[in-house]
Every structure is written in C-alpha cells, then in structure tokens.
C-alpha cells in the first residue's frame, strides 16, 4: 500500500508541472497588460507603467517568471489580487474550508442517496422500485445543479421556511447553523453524483449477483446480508467508486455557480468574480488549488481500490 501511495504521489509531479505551466501561460493568452492596470489604467504615465513592470519582474523571460511564480506557490504565496488588492493566499486560506466542506458534504449526499438506491435496484432488477430508481437517476443526471438549487430555495426556504435562502456560518461558529446553510448547496451539487453512482452500482450489482461465486454462497446457506456485504458489494463497488472520483471534479466546478446562488463566500464565488474581472493571480491560484484537491481525492479513490481489491494492492 505504501508503494502505491508513493507511486501515485510521484506521478503527481509531471501532472502538476503540466497544469502549472498551462495555468501560468494564461498570462500570455489574456489581453491587456496587468502593469497598466496596476499603474492606474490608461491614465498612467509610461514611466509609471515601466516602474510597475520592473517591480513585478514582468520584463524577465518567461521561464524566469514561471520559476519565480512556482517558488512563490511552493511557499504558499499566490500574489496579489488585481481586483481587491489583497493577498490571494489569505483569501484562499479563508475560503478553502468553505468550499471543501460543501464538496465533502455533497459527496456524503451522493453516497447516502446513491448507494441505497443502487443496492435497491441491483437486488431486485426489473421491479417497480428498480424502474422508479432508474427514472429518478435519469432525472437526477439531467437536471442542472443550479436549477435544482433554485427549486430547493423556493420550496425549503421561501415556502416552508425550514432553511435559510442565503448566507453561510462557519462550522466553528455553530455546527448546526453550518449544516443548515450548506445542506441545500450540498443537495444541489450531490444529486447528480448520487444519480450517476446509483446507476453504476445497480448495473455492477446486477452483474455480480449473477456470478457463480455468489450463487455458491447462496447454496452454502449464507444470509442475504452476508452475501450482499461480503461478496457482492465489494466487487460492485469498484466501478461506483470510479464514478465518484470522476464526479468529484464536477462537484468542485459546480461550486462556482452554487456559491453565487446561495451567497456563500467560498472559492467558487471567488473564482467567478476573478474570471469576470480578468484577475489573473486569482484565476491561477484557484485553478491550482482545484487541480490539487481533485488529484488528491482521486488518490484516495485509488487507495480505496487497494483496500477493496487485493490484486490492486499487489501490483
């Protein structure tokens, strides 16, 4: 298992190099000169602009600037936001727990809905419950998360008054308030993932329950719980976990709109404002953070494979 972890971590290095090069290269692709913006815009004098370029090292060759930026990133310094003038690292540090908390809760939503639904359909394929489950999963995949978010607000917040429509409370401030503020965003984000997981688990379970070793287990008098949990689910879970890993990147991307709808001060809403404002340091920083989180999450998925399948552990 340790060698698996080590191999995966080493594989991160070329990946991060490629991603960071691409992200940093955005400076070459986007129009406008950040030095002009920082020097005060079109009204700035040429001397001011030149001074800003020199101070920021913008006259240095691309590899030198890239190396300096990477060195800063490794120290946790992502530069200064062009929009707010504040250190990007401070904002990332404050917002990351917000977005990560919502994403993890969305994963829990996906698991808590997707797994039971998948099992229900898998053990009784063709039944009414199975068909309803397949229909619900199709709807869940088709419905956009932002639309679902607005429906949840209209129903749970406005009509019933059960949950707040906007805002955020930190977990440290009040765990209950935190949950009340993030449960709708998590539901909106996690529903599509739960639907995908349910479908994948159902299909895998149908296949596994028809295999000879499961039939043998029945024949030997094993109870349904034991057959399901010990034999069937372990094998059916692998593709479902793969789906979860793929869905996680969608969850992270979905926070961009969801946080805007719910007025949540996370990385998603931060990146959306940065995109509109052409705030390159923020765009670069959030992209790197999202990629890192996605890669680490998939490392966990790979480790889960190893736990479930000894053959993977040994390769």
């Amino acid at each position: 298992m340790a060698s698996l972890v080590l191999r995966r971590l080493l594989a991160l290095i070329p990946l991060l190099f490629l991603v960071s090069t691409g992200v940093f290269s955005l400076t070459l692709l986007l129009p406008g000169d950040p030095a002009i913006t920082l020097a005060g815009g079109e009204g700035a004098s040429l001397a001011d602009i030149a001074a800003v370029r020199e101070a920021l090292g913008l006259n240095d060759p691309f590899p030198v600037r890239y190396g300096r930026w990477v060195a800063g990133v490794l120290r946790g310094d992502f530069g200064i936001s062009l929009d707010s003038g504040k250190p990007v690292s401070d904002e990332i540090r404050a917002r990351f727990p917000v977005t990560f908390g919502i994403a993890i809760l969305a994963v829990l939503v996906a698991l808590s809905i997707g797994v039971p639904a998948g099992i229900l359909g898998g053990v009784r394929p063709g039944s009414l419950a199975d068909r309803l489950g397949v229909l619900a999963a199709s709807i869940g995949i088709a419905v956009p998360s932002f639309w679902l978010a607005m429906i949840l607000i209209a129903f749970l917040a406005v009509e019933l008054g059960w949950l707040p429509a906007i805002g955020y409370r930190g977990f440290g401030q009040s765990p209950v308030d935190w949950l009340r503020h993030v449960i709708m965003p998590a539901l909106a984000l996690g529903t599509a993932a739960s639907a995908a997981m349910a479908r994948q688990l159902r299909a895998a379970l149908v296949d596994v329950l028809g295999t000879n070793y499961v039939r043998t287990a029945w024949a030997k008098g094993a109870g349904s719980g034991r057959v399901l949990a010990k034999h069937a689910l372990k094998n059916a879970a692998l593709p479902a976990i793969t789906i979860l890993g793929l869905q996680f990147s969608s969850l992270l991307g979905g926070t961009v709109i969801i946080e805007q709808i719910f007025g949540i001060p996370g990385l998603g809403s931060y990146s959306l404002r940065a995109i509109i404002a052409n705030d390159l340091p923020v765009i670069q920083a959030v992209t790197i953070v999202f990629v890192l989180v996605h890669v680490l999450f998939n490392l966990l998925v790979d480790l889960a494979y190893g736990l479930l399948d000894p053959r993977i552990r040994l390769t």
Binding site: V123, G161, W162, A165
Partner: protein, 530 residues
C-alpha cells in the same frame, strides 16, 4: 415464504425511511421562527433588544468599506451614516437640518461655519470636537479619493474657531453645494486617535460617533452594528442593533426577504413582481431624484467626439421601452438631470431625444458612418438592471446599424478609470449638483475621459455659490446648464430609477422615512416587533 433477501430489503427500506423522517423532523425543529403567518405574527410592540437584519450587497465594487476615506461607492452611505453620523442631516424632502453640528451658517459663497453639539464622543470615548472635524476633512482631502465629491478638493482650509466651532474656507464660491458634503461621506468625523494608531486598521475596525458602533464584520457575510449609548440622539433610535446581511441584488435578495433571512432591503423595479402579491410584505415604490440609468460616452475617442454620433445614439434609444423592460414601467423617462416634479425641470427639453431611428440613421450618415460602426459598452455585473439595459441598448442600436459588444465589469469604478470601453450602460446615484459636477467636473471617476467645458464649469460654479433652494435665479441657471448638456449630447440620459423598499411587516414596523437611492431609510423610526 419470503426469502432472506426480501426480508433484509424490507428492513433496510424501513430503516432508511425512519432515518429520513428523523432528519426532516430535526430540520423542522431547528428552523428559525419566520413570523410569516398571522398565527406567528408578532405583537406590534417594539422590542428594545431588537436587531434589524438589513439586506445589502457586501461585495459589490471590490468589497465593503468601513473607512469613509476609502469609500468607493455611494452605497456605503447606509452603514457609514450609522457608524459615523454626519455634521448635517438631509431629510426625505431634500432639505438640510442639524446633525452633529447644532448650527451651520453660510457666511459667504466660499465660507461655512459650523458649531458642534456639546459633549459629543466617539465610540472609543475620545471627544468629538472642532479639531476632530478639521482632522477628518484634511485627511479626506489628502486622500484624493476619486469617489468622493470633487468639491471636497476645493477646501482651502479648516479653521478651528473654538472647541466646538470650525470655519470651512473653500477656494471657489461653492459653499451652497458644499452642504451636500456636510451630509455625506466626505466629512463624516472619525476619531483622530484611532486614525493615528498605526496598529489599527480603521477599515477593519472603524471608530465613529454614530448612533451605532462597530461590533463585527465577517466579509461576505455580515456587518454587525450595536447601539452606542453615548450618542447625542440615542433615544431616537428604537433598534438595539442592525445586521447588514450579505444579499446580492436580484433574486438572491428577494429570496432572502421571502424566506425571512433579512427583514428589509432596497430592491430593483423587476423585483417588485415577486414582492407585490405577498401579504406579509410591505412595498414602497416612488421615483428617485438622484438615481438614474444613462449611457456614458467618451468624447475623447472617435467617433464619439462627433456630436452627431452622440445625438444619433440618443435618437436610437427607445426610453419608454427601456422603462418598461428594465424598470417594469416604475421609473420615469429621463430627458434632463431632474424629474418632472422637480422645480428645476426644464420643460423645453421634454422629449429632446424622442425615439426616432430614421433621424439616427441620417445623423450617422452625415457623420460619415452610413453603415454604422461597432463599439463596446461596459455594464456593471452587480446589477441585473444595468446588464439588462446594456442588452436592450444592443438590440435597439442594432436597428440603426450600431453593433454593440457588451463588456461586463465586476469593478466598474476601476474599469471606468481604466477606460476599458468607450461607452458604459450604467446607473448613477448622486444628489443635487453632484449629478452634473461628477459627470463633467475635474478629477471625478464618473467624468468619462475627463471631459471639460468652461461654460458648464461656470454655470455649476454659480449654482454652487447659491443656497440650494428653488429661487428663480437657481432655476434659470439649471435650465441653462441642462440646455448645454442636451445641445451637445454629452450624455444620454435614459430613465430615473424607482426607489423600491420592501420589508417584512410581521418583523418590522415604523418604516416611515425612505430616502433616495443609496441613502437607505430613517433608522430613527424603525423597530423590530416583539
């Protein structure tokens, strides 16, 4: 006989349903009381510990400012007025009455004298005296904040007459217009000791002399203010505190009010559709005198330096259509700087740019652009009304051959300064003479491309030297000013925005004074019901 699998499945289903029911009941139990139904309605008696939740966008234009010196939007006035108070107060009728200053006198057209109330204190206990007023004004003048009224830079000197009295001397005869600044952000007194404390960031922990002191600010979440017991007028304020809760303009803010997350907020015209039919909400709608939609034109770049091009744009805009589409018909078509019910309104300019696409095309042809041309229009992202205005302009101007590309701005102040586009579909909120001086005067971010006209400067100077009343002399000056602006098509006014305020009547009472756009309400009468 049921198989083990079927039995197990039934048990699992039952357990799952029980779990869902438990979660649902927990959420209902934890739900805050909304007070939205008659059965849950409150008594109507003021709660002495009541805290009002006011919906406000805490992230527009780069984030909330708490230090008046750094303020970059007129919308900051609502919370700053509560934190700092002002030397003069303006009334909903647009007149000025004593605030922190118990007396104010216009000595001549360049000089104003003020006398403070005795015993005033800042939130940190230090005295608010004449020296503090001088310190504040000099600090703000030195900051050269382009979002402050340009008139602030005409302050030549602030003399301390005695402990409570100051004399403000201006370098130009503009004492009449300066009254606006004495009731605005530009002269809100701050604690000199707090400002001089280098370890303290006033923008993070402000210290003023207003009826409410700073308690907490969580960026993008909430700004909490609590009663300052030593305020000179504390008895007038029923509320124990005010929480400004982050709620972006548009559907988020509407949902926040409907769900009970906020008690009161100002809204746009389009929001009224969702707010009107609710029995637990009260809605106030009236035209603004200072908030309006317009199209800014950079006269320094081609082809906008040609008056015929600017006039063509004016004739191509269907203002009544914009009022219907953007403001739900609740605004007022705008031909000059003042609405029709104002004594300064110039009837000669009624329909000066009446919708006439044929005339627009003729003017473009005369200007050598028979096929039209393409250009960018900036629109601020924080308001759906401005974005909608840009979209409608895009469609209307296309009919006369003008190809508009919309550029969305998340920081319109910065982008105006940087001239990210030659035109902007924008809204503005400025009282009185500032509507003109900030658009055409020097060193103003709203003066797109620094346009100057000596004739306009002369007229605004004359108006600024006179008391802000409706004498025939002042009216004649305003008419002359508006005729120049219209003749040269320096800007294309579109419509006055309505002032829309809505509140939850189960939670809130006493909403009587609603000021103009961006000025909030009179918190001295508002209370939270017990």
């Amino acid at each position: 006989m049921r198989s083990d699998v079927e039995t197990g499945r039934s048990r699992t289903t039952a357990l799952g349903l029980c779990a869902l029911l438990a979660v649902g009941l927990s959420l209902v139990a934890c739900a805050e009381e909304r007070g939205r139904t008659p059965e849950n309605g409150s008594s109507g008696i003021a709660d002495s510990d009541g805290v009002l939740r006011y919906g406000l966008d805490l992230v527009a234009t780069g984030g909330l400012s708490l230090d008046p010196m750094l303020s970059n939007t007129v919308g900051d006035f609502i919370h700053m007025n509560l934190l700092y108070d002002t030397l003069l107060h303006f009334t909903p009728e647009g007149t000025y009455v004593p605030g922190l200053a118990r007396e104010f006198t216009m000595v001549d057209s360049s000089t104003i004298e003020l006398t403070l109330r005795p015993g005033l204190r800042f939130h940190d206990g230090t005295p608010l005296d004449a020296k503090a007023v001088r310190f504040t004004i000099e600090r703000n003048v030195a900051a050269h904040n382009l979002n402050h009224a340009p008139l602030l830079r005409r302050v030549e000197a602030v003399d301390v007459i005695d402990d409570l009295s100051v004399r403000i001397r201006l370098s130009t005869p503009t004492a009449g217009a300066f009254h606006e600044l004495l009731a605005g952000r530009e002269t809100m007194p701050i604690s000199p000791s707090a400002a001089r404390d280098l370890a303290r960031d006033l923008d993070a922990r402000p210290v003023g002399a207003g009826p409410y002191r700073f308690e907490e600010f969580i960026p993008e979440q909430v700004l909490r203010l609590r009663r300052f017991e030593d305020h000179w007028d504390t008895e007038r304020f029923p509320l124990d505190g005010i929480d400004f809760v982050h709620a972006m303009a548009g559907p988020s803010r509407v949902n926040a009010l409907l769900s009970g997350d906020i008690d009161i907020a100002d809204f746009t015209a389009v929001d009224t559709r969702a707010l009107r039919p609710r029995p637990d909400l009260e809605l106030s709608v009236r035209p603004s005198r200072s908030g309006f939609l317009y199209v800014a034109l950079c006269k320094a770049v081609k082809p906008f330096d040609d008056v015929r091009v600017r006039q063509a744009i004016g004739f191509a805009i269907d203002r009544a259509g914009v009022n219907e589409a953007v403001l739900d018909g609740l605004g007022e078509v705008m031909w000059t700087t003042w609405p029709k019910d104002s004594p300064y309104y110039n009837p000669k300019l009624e329909r000066v740019f009446a919708f006439d696409p044929d005339r627009a095309r003729d003017l473009l042809a005369e200007a050598g652009l028979p096929d039209g041309f393409a250009f960018d229009v900036m629109a601020p992202s924080f308001s759906s009304a401005f974005l909608r205005l840009a979209e409608i302009l895009q469609a209307q101007l296309a009919d006369v051959g003008l190809d508009v590309r919309i550029v969305i701005s998340s920081n319109i102040i910065r982008d105006l300064m940087n001239r990210r586009a030659p035109t902007s579909a924008i809204g503005w909120t400025r009282p009185g003479l500032q509507k003109v001086t900030r658009m055409f005067g020097p060193d103003s971010v709203a003066n797109f491309c620094n346009y100057r006209d000596p004739a306009i400067d002369a007229l605004t100077a004359q108006i600024a030297a006179l008391p802000p009343d409706d004498s025939p002399e002042v009216i004649a000056l305003w008419h002359a000013l508006e005729e120049i602006i219209a003749r040269d098509a320096l800007v294309q006014y579109v419509a006055f925005q309505p002032v829309v305020q809505a509140w939850n009547t189960h939670r809130v009472g006493g909403v009587e004074g609603i000021f103009d756009t961006g000025q909030g309400i009179d918190f001295g009468t508002v209370y939270v019901k017990r």
